[in-house]
């Protein structure tokens, strides 16, 4: 393989691996900007992946699969919202609980329904998402440099991939150019200000968590119905936590979220590329090292070496009217 080819393959993998991170991190952004911390991204994504895979397999339709994924993810998000907004519970405990529920129930239900060791049946072409070839991708493929870039990097992805990248500017616009965004940002910073302005804090936070649930549903569906053709147990493999790291790394800003997810996706792609390869000077790089890098970078950020990550001020705290 020549170098150009290696670069192209790596970048293509970067995009493929970044998509679930982008969707999950944007999901977390909506929730955390409203003041509800969510470490249950992983669990929601996993449950959505399972629901999507299972429903698509049973009904033979990608759309039904996606719908099921979103419904299940939203249901879990509402559990989190009820515990942490209505009941003013601890948001971390609730998030952890959701992760465990998802981890256990997907395997149990999968085994009970399909008897394939926790997997869902292999999806056929109609019941999963297909890569989309943009116009002229094949004709232009022979144009040097630009052709392959268009054909491989821009074209040839799943609908959900384009959706994920489109959500970045959309989220930015929602956050900074709409009434909903203004209120969402305010409720995460000073819910008292929102309450005294005559807006329901509870409603705003539920809406933030709802958006989170929907986007986690997309992220899960992407895993089991687009990149893979079916659910495998534990298939999120920590992506929810990497997304959370990316969200912090991006300082809760949408465009930064995309960049951070692409960086973390790139590190992942690099890990795959370097697997078993001898590099000059350093020799073989352990896969674990590359996998740990996103967390290491986030810790370095949190320690204050790369700017400062200031979370939404009211994040993690239940809102209680002062007396």
């Amino acid at each position: 393989m020549d170098y150009f080819q290696i670069v192209m393959v790596t970048l293509e993998a970067t995009i493929r691996l970044s998509v679930p991170l982008i969707l999950a991190a944007l999901a977390g952004l909506y929730s955390e900007r409203s003041g509800i911390f969510d470490i249950g991204l992983e669990g929601k994504m996993l449950a959505a992946a399972f629901a999507g895979g299972a429903a698509a397999a049973v009904y033979g339709s990608a759309i039904i699969g996606l719908t099921a994924a979103i419904v299940v993810s939203v249901a879990l998000a509402m559990v989190h919202a009820f515990a942490s907004i209505t009941q003013r519970g601890n948001q971390i405990v609730s998030g952890v609980a959701i992760n465990f529920i998802a981890l256990g129930s997907t395997v149990i239900l999968g085994q009970a329904w399909f008897r394939q060791g926790g997997r869902t049946p292999q999806l056929n072409e109609d019941s999963r998402f297909q890569a989309i070839t943009l116009p002229f991708a094949e004709t232009l493929a022979d144009v040097p440099v630009l052709g392959p870039i268009y054909a491989n990097l821009i074209s040839g992805h799943f609908l959900l991939t384009y959706f994920a990248f489109a959500m970045v500017p959309i989220t930015w616009w929602v956050l900074y150019r709409t009434r909903f965004g203004l209120r969402l940002r305010a409720v995460g910073e000073n819910p008292g200000a929102v309450d005294t302005a005559g807006i329901s804090v509870t409603k705003m936070r539920y809406l933030g968590v709802l958006c989170c649930g929907i986007l986690c549903g997309f992220a899960g569906a992407y895993l089991s119905m687009a990149v893979a053709a079916g659910f495998v147990k534990g298939m999120t493999a920590g992506k929810g936590f990497i997304a959370l790291a990316a969200l912090i790394f991006a300082k809760w800003k949408p465009v930064n979220v995309m960049l951070a997810c692409l960086l973390f996706g790139f590190l992942d792609a690099l890990a795959i590329l370097l697997q078993g390869q001898q590099l000059p000077v350093v020799g073989e790089v352990p896969v674990q090292f590359m996998q740990a890098l996103p967390y290491v970078l986030t810790v370095i950020l949190l320690a204050g070496f790369i700017g400062k990550a200031i979370p939404p001020k009211a994040g993690g705290k239940p809102y209680v009217k002062e007396r």
Binding site: R179, A193, G198, K313
Partner: protein, 511 residues
């Protein structure tokens, strides 16, 4: 049309066992400034929160402009023309002024055109009421006086005709407070009705047309301001006669007990908060440090008492150095005779979930009289607590009660008893009467004077200028981390106010 802007009839509200408002009746005439005065916990804020729809009354009626309405939530209050400026500003710190003003009153789901209109409307309001503020400034970068102005603009933007201000001057310099009063008078002259909630008698006398007094959840009296006086109001507030001015004899200073030289301290963000401060406190005198909150007084106290590391400078306690730039140990300083009543009793003075007797020895729990090897002698602890509870009139006198269940004044007395009863050489006190009712204030002030007369060196920090003036033998004024002047207690409030606002002595002479 009624000439009453607000009429409350029989408002009653309980929070569990706490009866916060008992059958309150109140009438506020249009176009007046109506003061509501009362001690902390008298139920003023609760009453106003009911009026603003933050809480619902258990019983009673609210009439706005003669019409009965049910204020379910702040939206109803806003629609009825009621605006509120909260004691703790309800602003989003990292939003701009414009965003804060718009929040909740946006025109459309998409902000585009709304922003343009809001900006124009804000400009109009600023011009009409002479309340300039840069619409694009970020709140956290504005001084508190301007933040308050934004709160007022927020209410006006929503079309408020009736403006409620809850303890608005707590965070302001005297000059800023005066400015606020001029704004309020102007608003009244333009037809607005203003309700001013405060516990400061001086403000009531200075600006209100009518005043209502609350005590323990009840409305005890309403007076025309011109027909009452400070003494009567104080008596109504407390329910008995109170001495507003502390009686004290001349001071008799002797040796220097605490000496601070060239002390510089940074806060957690690295900002210099105490800048080359030098001062001395002698045995038998009270040195008061006046200043608006946030001008370095807190950091000064923390450095002297070994809680915060100083950058440079020396501090001598009875002639012996304190390692303020290294690791001064508060416990060690206690043993050496430095007692500290911290500014914030909830965060630094007490553990609220502890029993009273445990807090009564906190910091002195290593004393041999309370220890039996590694075990606490609970009997000794409790009997000590019971003694100081009696001596300091701490109520209720139940040493096993959780500290959180005591009132602010009694909590403060627990701290004072603990620190004063150890016969310290130097007593450092921050905000001795913050959130303390008038009756307890009198008691605490007397104790502080007694400490002075017993030959202790007292360093007093307070944002209440009246307190500084009535207790201190010498007054130092801090502004932006520096001591900008020293005055005698005879100095006028205006003179001190100028120093507190950072007006240089030269400029002062020129004015």
């Amino acid at each position: 049309m009624s000439d009453l802007a607000i009429e409350l009839r029989g408002i009653d509200k309980s929070f569990g066992p706490v009866h916060a408002n008992k059958n309150i009746n109140l009438s506020v005439s249009k176009g007046t400034i109506h003061g509501i005065i009362g001690e902390n916990g008298a139920g003023k804020s609760t009453l106003m929160s009911i009026l603003y729809g933050f809480y619902q009354a258990d019983e009673g009626k609210i009439l706005v402009n003669g019409e009965e309405i049910t204020i379910r939530d702040p939206n109803v209050a806003i629609a009825a023309g009621i605006g509120m400026v909260h004691q703790h500003f309800m602003l989003v710190d990292n939003f701009t002024v414009l965003e804060n003003v718009m929040l909740g009153a946006e025109e459309n789901a998409i902000l585009n055109r709304g922003i343009v209109n809001a900006r124009a409307e804000l400009k109009r309001l600023e011009d009409e009421y002479a309340l300039e503020v840069d619409p694009d400034a970020v709140i956290e970068e504005l001084p508190v006086g301007l933040q308050q102005r934004v709160e007022i603009l927020k209410a006006l933007y929503r079309g408020a005709e009736i403006l409620i201000l809850d303890e608005p001057t707590g965070v302001l310099t005297p000059a800023e407070a005066d400015h606020l009063f001029r704004i309020l008078e102007q608003l009244r002259d333009q037809g607005k009705t203003i309700i001013l909630i405060t516990h400061k008698l001086r403000e009531i006398m200075a600006i209100t047309d009518e005043v209502s007094v609350m005590r323990r959840g009840e409305m005890v009296a309403t007076r025309k301001t011109s027909e009452t006086n400070v003494e009567e109001l104080a008596e109504l507030m407390v329910g008995r006669r109170v001495l507003l001015r502390v009686e004290k004899g001349p001071s008799n200073p002797s040796d220097v007990k605490l000496s601070v030289d060239g002390l510089t301290v940074r806060d957690n963000r690295g900002v210099v908060m105490v800048d080359d401060v030098s001062l001395e406190v002698r045995a038998g005198e009270i040195v008061g440090i006046a200043g608006v909150a946030g001008n370095g007084q807190s950091e000064l106290l923390q450095a002297i008492t070994g809680i915060r590391q100083a950058e440079k400078g020396t501090v001598l306690l009875a002639g012996q150095p304190i390692d303020v730039t290294g690791d001064a140990d508060p416990q060690d300083l206690r043993k050496r005779g430095l007692a500290h009543v911290p500014e914030d009793r909830h965060h630094m003075g007490l553990v609220l979930s502890f029993e009273e007797n445990e807090n009564a020895i906190l910091g002195y729990h290593y004393d041999e009289e309370y220890l039996n090897g590694p075990m606490l002698k609970l009997d000794a602890v409790r009997s000590h607590a019971a003694q100081s509870a009696e001596k300091y009139d701490i109520r209720p006198p139940d040493v096993r009660l959780k500290t959180a269940n005591f009132s602010g004044g009694n909590q403060q007395k627990i701290v004072l008893a603990r620190e004063m009863e150890r016969d310290p050489a130097v007593l450092v006190i921050g905000q001795p009467t913050r959130g303390v009712d008038v009756g307890a204030i009198e008691f605490i002030h007397k104790r502080i004077i007694e400490m002075r007369d017993a030959g202790k060196a007292v360093l007093l920090v307070s944002v209440e200028l009246d307190e500084i003036r009535s207790l201190s033998d010498r007054i130092l004024v801090m502004f932006a981390g520096r001591v900008v002047g020293e005055r005698t207690p005879e100095a006028t409030e205006g003179e001190l106010g100028l120093l507190m606002a950072g007006v240089e002595e030269g400029q002062e002479a020129a004015q």
